[in-house]
Symmetry: C2
Subunit: 91 residues, 2 copies
């Protein structure tokens, strides 16, 4: 049986995020003021049979632990988001 899971990946604090800067600079031109600290990361949704593998998957393929933090959102919480099941190092 497969379980739906969700992984959130974001640039670590202090790591330059050019995409986020681009968005932050574009928003005022479109009439949206008062937006700051825009950070852009990745959202990965997948069906897994063994949720305990997710942490290893993040370390080995999904995230770059040198520059990114990741957060695994547990199966119960996908669809109706709830508590965080596991957190990557340094989040």
């Amino acid at each position: 049986m497969s379980i739906k899971a969700r992984v959130l990946i974001r640039p670590k604090q202090g790591i330059l995020d050019p995409q986020g800067i681009a968005v932050e600079q574009a928003l005022p031109a479109l009439g949206f003021e008062g937006v700051s600290n825009v950070r852009i990361g990745r959202l990965i949704e997948l069906d897994v049979q063994d949720v305990s593998q997710l942490d290893a998957m993040c370390k080995k393929l999904l995230a770059n632990p040198l520059i990114e933090d990741y957060e695994v959102i547990g199966p119960d919480d996908v669809g109706s988001p709830g508590d965080v099941a596991a957190k990557g190092p340094g989040t």
Copy 2:
């Protein structure tokens, strides 16, 4: 005062997601079996003064409504994830 918000953006159902396919095919080679339906989207975290602007921001800049669904996660839920505050069309 700024409020932390989070936007999840994912490819719409039926839209090809080459990144997701690449990840799905790479996982078995790394010893992770039983993973399917990998979809890769974007995670945007930002501080906003007016949360009601987020929906318009998604439509105008953050997401491409033709091929992407978006989901705004309310300020109360960022940090300690909880309910979904607002959902994009077709999610």
